[in-house]
């Protein structure tokens, strides 16, 4: 510290004659950030202890004290620009931690409460004839996989074909209209998608038609715009150079798309598709309306109500049995299972994009 803050007498003598200042400035020591943070924490701890408050005021006052302390110290030693830099670094880091708090809280809560029933029975038993203790979500897990799988089977071809049209063929009014309506679809509330599927099936197959396929239709209404958007972005970033190279070899357009453009973009497209699945796999409202709920296992998506994890979790929590605890435990475990499915999907997306990404090995 003494070397950086003491007046730099020797440098003044070597200053250029035209009066320009030395470019060397003082710098804070390397441990400055952590030191200031520790000091802020100690000070905040003292204040909170004296006033008798809890954890939240402690964290908040630590952040405020740290931001004030580090920027003040920096302004004194390093000058205005670096002080502003340090103040904003503190601000951005606090915002990040603030955003992380609910995420960590949800994960910790769901894991700690869901582990109680995270056992073999939960994954092998349905709720058929179960009153009170025991039972499982086998039927709901299967229902979630079936409805999401069907939704994916419908959404990916439609969404990918739309994206190909928009990027490779569409130039006029039609493509602008499609882009507009895809944007509108992105904003559809999921309950509206459920009502749409319910109304559609009521019109075609008679009132009260509730089955797994209706739920899949509702989910694909939500999924298609996501697939279109992500695939479109991925196809757009395929360099035109590659299309030109393929055209110059005398290749027909459809083959350029199938053999050159799609393979180049496949990593991004599959990541987008997986994330779209992850997005709809936890939907509750549309499935509640279009797929219904049941306690028994139903593998047929075209007939009868079907249980899904999110709806199962909702019903176990909203209308528990007479001893309440077993139902609540099942609800939490169902939530944990859903979270694990989404996490596995994200890992799959990551590995797919690593696997397919163009390599630059030598």
């Amino acid at each position: 510290m003494s070397t950086t803050t003491s007046p730099p007498t020797p440098t003044e003598s070597v200053e250029p004659p035209n009066g320009t200042k030395s470019l060397v400035r003082g710098t804070l020591p390397r441990w400055a950030s952590w030191g200031a943070l520790g000091a802020a924490a100690v000070l905040a701890g003292l204040i909170v202890r004296l006033l008798g408050f809890g954890v939240t005021p402690f964290v908040l006052s630590t952040a405020v004290l740290y931001a004030i302390g580090i920027s003040g110290w920096s302004r004194w030693v390093e000058g205005g620009r670096k002080a502003t830099d340090r103040a904003f670094t503190a601000l951005v880091a606090s915002a990040f931690l603030l955003a992380l708090t609910p995420l960590v809280s949800v994960v910790v809560t769901v894991i700690s409460r869901g582990l109680d029933r995270f056992d073999g029975q939960f994954f092998t038993y349905s709720m058929r004839g179960v009153v009170g203790d025991g039972g499982g979500a086998y039927h709901a897990i299967m229902g979630t996989l079936i409805t999401s799988g069907l939704a994916t089977l419908m959404s990916v071809p439609i969404g990918l074909a739309t994206a190909i049209y928009l990027v490779e063929y569409g130039h006029g009014r039609l493509s602008r209209a499609i882009t507009f309506f895809v944007d509108v679809m992105t904003g559809i509330p999921s309950i509206v998608a459920g009502l749409f599927a319910y109304a559609l099936f009521a019109l075609v197959f008679g009132p009260g038609t509730v089955n797994g396929f209706a739920g899949a239709v509702a989910l694909s209404v939500l999924m298609i715009p996501i697939v279109v958007r992500s695939s479109e972005e991925m196809l757009k970033i395929v360099p035109d150079d590659l299309r030109e190279a393929a055209f110059a070899l005398g290749t027909p357009k459809w083959k350029v798309i199938v053999r050159v453009v799609l393979p180049t973009a496949v990593a991004g497209i599959s990541t987008g598709v997986t994330l779209a699945i992850a997005r709809v796999v936890g939907e509750t409202a549309p499935l509640l309306i279009a797929t219904g709920a049941t306690g028994s296992t139903n593998f047929n998506p075209f007939s009868g109500q079907m249980a899904t994890l999110s709806v199962f979790s909702y019903y176990e929590y909203a209308s528990p049995g007479v001893p309440v605890d077993p139902s609540l435990d099942r609800a939490w475990t169902a939530a944990l299972t859903l979270m694990l499915i989404v996490m596995v999907l994200n890992l799959v997306a990551r590995s797919i994009s690593l696997l397919f990404a163009p390599k630059a090995g030598r």
């Binding site: 110059a248 290749t251 630059a360």
Partner: protein, 259 residues
């Protein structure tokens, strides 16, 4: 192989904007024809009109005739995909397909054009093309590695190998060396000298020394001003253009006194 191209009164439009005005020239077989001129004068547009690549830009169209071997490339019913099989192209920036290996890049033209070839035949074409592009010795031990791992100059020669693997009659090169260092440029120029034994080559270049070194004929394109169409000022044998050009504009451009 190696066909002669007669271009007659070719006008090229982007929408209502005329980019190139009434170009007529004869491109000789088994020779290198260089096109030089200032930026934006329509050289590349003209080059891309020779294999109907400019049609990929919506609203681009052409009036006039491009006759290769008694066939008008712009005759009604002429399929641009077929035209491009006969007139290959190499681009400014090396653009190997990133998802394919070196081998697959060279074989891409054959595979994309649906030719059913036995493995041994494909091997043969790949080796022949890579040898033709002066790249075989450098890559023969890593044919299965991605093409994007090669150096810029090697990538450009890979692209040339890919272009000649489909056995075109004419090879168009749009500033093929402008992204390359002098050594790679030298390699590509040597290659052009060899290739002209079998191919008709048209090259667009901003490097006048290059035009003087590699070409047999040189055409000078110029533009009257911004918003005006580009036009061919003159075309002649390269030594004539560089020593005693007919037009003063050519002489000024070549001697660097231009604009």
């Amino acid at each position: 192989m190696a066909k002669r191209i007669d271009v007659k009164d070719l006008d090229i439009y982007y929408g209502s904007f005329r980019a190139v005005r009434s170009v007529s020239m004869t491109i000789q077989p088994r020779a290198v024809t260089a096109l030089i001129g200032p930026s934006g004068c329509g050289k590349s547009t003209y080059l891309r009109a020779l294999n109907r690549m400019h049609e990929l830009i919506p609203s681009a169209r052409v009036e006039g005739k491009v006759v290769m071997d008694d066939q008008d490339l712009y005759a009604p019913g002429m399929d641009p995909v077929d035209v491009r099989k006969h007139v290959g192209m190499v681009f400014q920036r090396p653009n190997p397909f990133p998802t394919m290996s070196i081998y697959d890049n060279v074989a891409a033209g054959l595979r994309l054009n649906n030719k059913r070839l036995r493995k041994s035949e494909t091997d043969e074409v790949v080796e022949e093309s890579l040898r033709g592009a002066n790249l075989w010795e450098e890559v023969k031990d890593r044919l299965r590695k991605p093409g994007s791992g090669l150096s810029g100059g090697q990538q450009q020669r890979l692209c040339i190998a890919r272009a000649i693997a489909v056995r075109p009659d004419v090879l168009l090169m749009d500033e093929p060396c402008s992204a390359l260092d002098p050594i790679s440029t030298h390699a590509v120029e040597d290659l052009m000298a060899q290739l002209k034994e079998n191919y008709t080559i048209v090259i667009v270049t901003h490097n006048m020394q290059q035009a003087a070194r590699v070409s047999n004929y040189t055409g000078f394109f110029n533009i009257a001003g911004t918003g005006q169409p580009g036009e061919l000022v003159e075309i002649d044998e390269t030594p004539t253009i560089f020593s005693t050009p007919t037009h003063t504009a050519t002489e000024e451009y070549i001697s660097g006194r231009f604009g």
